[in-house]
């Protein structure tokens, strides 16, 4: 209360005070600037220093970006065009565009196949990522891996069909016998799948791939960013279920299962990924029979999947440990059995808690796929370090090439991160 009326306790207002606009310094941009950038001497100094830094950065990079040359055929031509001015030589990206994306051996008339596989991937992955979509779309997701395999590698269509039938047979056996006994269903399913695969292997005629509808492309010919995407998508989608199984196994009451999981996780986590990749490229051959040639891509997928599954298992174990014991007890007291309690009560909550950690591992895994360049697979980084930088035309174009690689990876990883934040908001139901 102001002191105008202090002399009288009884007070009646007889004139209305009209509303007036606030002083000029209290609104809009001026107010925002004063409060956020110049609130005191230190902040003002920091603001000015920051502006200076931003100016220096932009004054160096903007001309480089804006003067960029896009249409020449070699670094020497770039220099001719620029005539000593600052400017990037983006021509390397346009000239080697296909090599950066598909590697240098994938037949160029077949580029539509990986492109189509990528477009279909979006449809296959949508119902998994956005679970409000109708569940029936998952049927396509189940078929997609086999379709994508056929599109990218080509060859006889019988191979992916046999693989699919094998999985279907396994799923059928598990559905039928898994209800009465989990172990019988589980091992029966594995046996059924292998039976179909071996039988199918005999049925596929020798040389079926030679005159196939889609020309067969061996794994050695895959490359570029396509290879990174393929490894990333395959390994993330395989390591998540494996990680969940390992995390649950580590909590198991059965000592054998528990110790198998502990040993696996601790061993794989304690070894550098590069070592595992070298094992995949060189040493794994010793473990397989001499005549069998397990595909290099498959060997690398196995190693990266094992590696990230061990990390994901530990992240999920953290989520499981964070759940109150009462949740387990409530599920038990309602008569839910172990698989039901895990699937309906425990995992949905534990996975929700683990989202940031899982995304962390997934992003790391995706970037780690560039490590395959050290075992002479020509992924995006392998292409840049190898064929492109080693060529006489483009020897020395580091900034443009590596910047482009960084940009591609950043776009994908930022997308994953944004998705995970959306997911966390979408799943927030506890209002704590």
């Amino acid at each position: 209360m102001s002191d105008t009326h202090a002399h009288s306790i009884a007070f009646v207002r007889d004139t209305e005070i009209p509303p007036s606009p606030p002083p000029a310094g209290e609104t809009g941009v001026v107010k925002w600037l004063r409060e956020n950038l110049f609130s005191n001497a230190v902040n003002s100094a920091l603001t000015i220093a920051s502006l200076l830094v931003i100016y220096i950065l932009l004054s160096k990079t903007l001309p480089w970006l804006l003067n960029g040359v896009w249409t020449t055929n070699s670094l020497a031509e770039c220099r001719e065009v620029l005539q000593g001015k600052t400017g990037a030589c983006f021509s390397v990206l346009t000239e080697r565009w296909n090599q950066l994306l598909y590697g240098f051996k994938y037949p160029s008339d077949q580029y539509w196949r990986p492109n189509l596989a990528l477009v279909l991937l979006l449809f296959a992955i949508a119902p998994v990522l956005f679970f409000d979509l109708p569940r029936k779309l998952l049927a396509f997701t189940a078929v997609y891996p086999f379709l994508a395999f056929w599109l990218i590698w080509g060859g006889t269509i019988l191979a992916p069909i046999v693989a699919l039938v094998g999985f279907a047979a396994g799923a059928f056996v598990f559905q039928t016998y898994g209800k009465s006994s989990f172990a019988v269903g589980f091992f029966g399913a594995i046996a059924a799948a292998f039976a179909v695969w071996i039988l199918g292997g005999w049925l596929i005629p020798e040389g079926a791939s030679e005159n196939a509808m889609l020309k067969a492309v061996p794994s050695r010919d895959l490359g570029g960013f396509m290879l990174n995407l393929m490894l990333g998508v395959t390994c993330v989608s395989l390591s998540l279920p494996l990680g969940i199984a390992l995390a649950l196994g580590r909590q198991s009451d059965m000592p054998l299962i528990k110790w198998m999981c502990v040993v696996f996780i601790e061993f794989v986590r304690g070894v550098p990924l590069i070592t595992l990749l070298f094992v995949a490229s060189v040493m794994l051959a010793y473990f397989f029979p001499p005549e069998s040639t397990v595909d290099l891509f498959l060997r690398v997928v196995i190693m990266i999947t094992m590696f990230s599954a061990a990390y994901i298992a530990e992240v999920i174990r953290g989520g499981l440990a964070a759940l109150p014991k009462g949740q387990y007890e409530a599920a038990d007291s309602l008569g839910l059995d172990y698989p039901q309690a895990m699937r309906l009560i425990i995992l949905p909550q534990a996975l929700k808690i683990s989202i940031p950690g899982i995304v962390n591992v997934a992003v790391g895994l995706f970037k780690d796929t560039t490590l395959v360049s050290v075992i002479s697979m020509f992924d995006l980084v392998g292409m840049i370090r190898g064929p492109i930088l080693a060529s006489t035309e483009w020897n020395g174009v580091y900034w443009e090439l590596l910047g482009f690689a960084a940009l591609l990876f950043f776009v994908v990883c930022y997308g994953i991160s944004q998705y995970s934040q959306w997911l966390e908001r979408r799943l927030a139901t506890d209002h704590r």
Binding site: Q327, L334, Q349
Partner: protein
């Protein structure tokens, strides 16, 4: 004594104790490591009985009722629930758990599911009830505990008393023959205790077999037909509520009652 009890007259017409045995515990012993938590427990509960288990903290009363649906394992003795003996056989345990409802001190609702989903989950997955029927039954019980309008909210949006009533409805949806209450009002504000107790009284009036670990002595006096006093893992005294409160026999019981009733 708690003055929060229902002021309405309690209808005892259906509170009939039958001769049929619901729970039989013989010579049961349990240890946590080398600590002897439950010592030689013998207890027979008939269908329709309302039993209140009281005692100081650490006396083993929660452990006792948690043994009845195998949330805790007992090491010696025999527990028969509704004709099925509790053993290591998982089938028996699951059967007993689906016949015995349990309400916890901290509600333990599933925070990622709506109230309705909390109530329909077990009927759908354990009893294989069709979804529609399970939802109708869930709404019936939610109406009974007087919160049908909250059905599509999540547990985190409800007050403690409402959550505990949902927990009771969730148990009832499994159509249990026996209900276990493990300190159902201990985590609640005083004004919410009444609404939960009212729900429990209503349940008792319908003839449900109830075992209740609670400090609500008013509830014990009004609803229970037997009060069991436990101390140091043993049943020290059991009697009808009138006798138990007015004329306790053991010194330990007298001391406990004088402390809890504040005479």
């Amino acid at each position: 004594m708690s003055e929060l009890m229902s002021d309405r007259a309690i209808d005892r017409s259906k509170m009939q104790v039958s001769d049929e045995v619901a729970i039989e515990i013989t010579n049961m012993n349990k240890w946590y490591g080398s600590f002897h938590v439950l010592r030689d427990i013998n207890l027979t509960v008939n269908q329709g009985e309302r039993i209140v288990i009281a005692g100081p903290s650490g006396s083993g009363k929660s452990t006792l009722i948690r043994c009845l649906n195998a949330l805790e394992e007992h090491q010696q003795g025999k527990i028969v629930v509704d004709g099925t003996e509790l053993s290591n056989d998982l089938k028996n345990i699951d059967k007993i758990r689906s016949e015995v409802g349990m309400v916890f001190q901290h509600f333990n609702l599933f925070p990622h599911l709506t109230i309705l989903e909390n109530c329909t989950l077990a009927p759908i997955w354990v009893r294989k009830t069709p979804k529609k029927e399970a939802e109708e039954r869930a709404m019936h019980f939610l109406e009974k505990v007087k919160i049908p309008e909250q059905a599509h909210k999540y547990p985190g949006m409800l007050s403690g008393g409402q959550q505990q009533r949902v927990a009771i409805a969730r148990s009832l949806c499994m159509m249990p023959r026996i209900m276990l209450f493990d300190e159902p009002t201990s985590a609640l504000d005083p004004e919410m205790i009444k609404e939960v107790l009212d729900t429990m009284i209503e349940l008792a009036e319908e003839g449900m077999t109830m075992l209740c670990v609670t400090h609500e002595m008013g509830f014990a006096r009004q609803v229970a037909n037997r009060v069991i006093f436990m101390d140091a893992g043993q049943i020290v005294e059991q009697n009808e509520p009138e006798e138990f409160f007015n004329n306790p026999k053991s010194d330990r019981t007298k001391l406990f009652l004088s402390q809890i009733l504040g005479h």
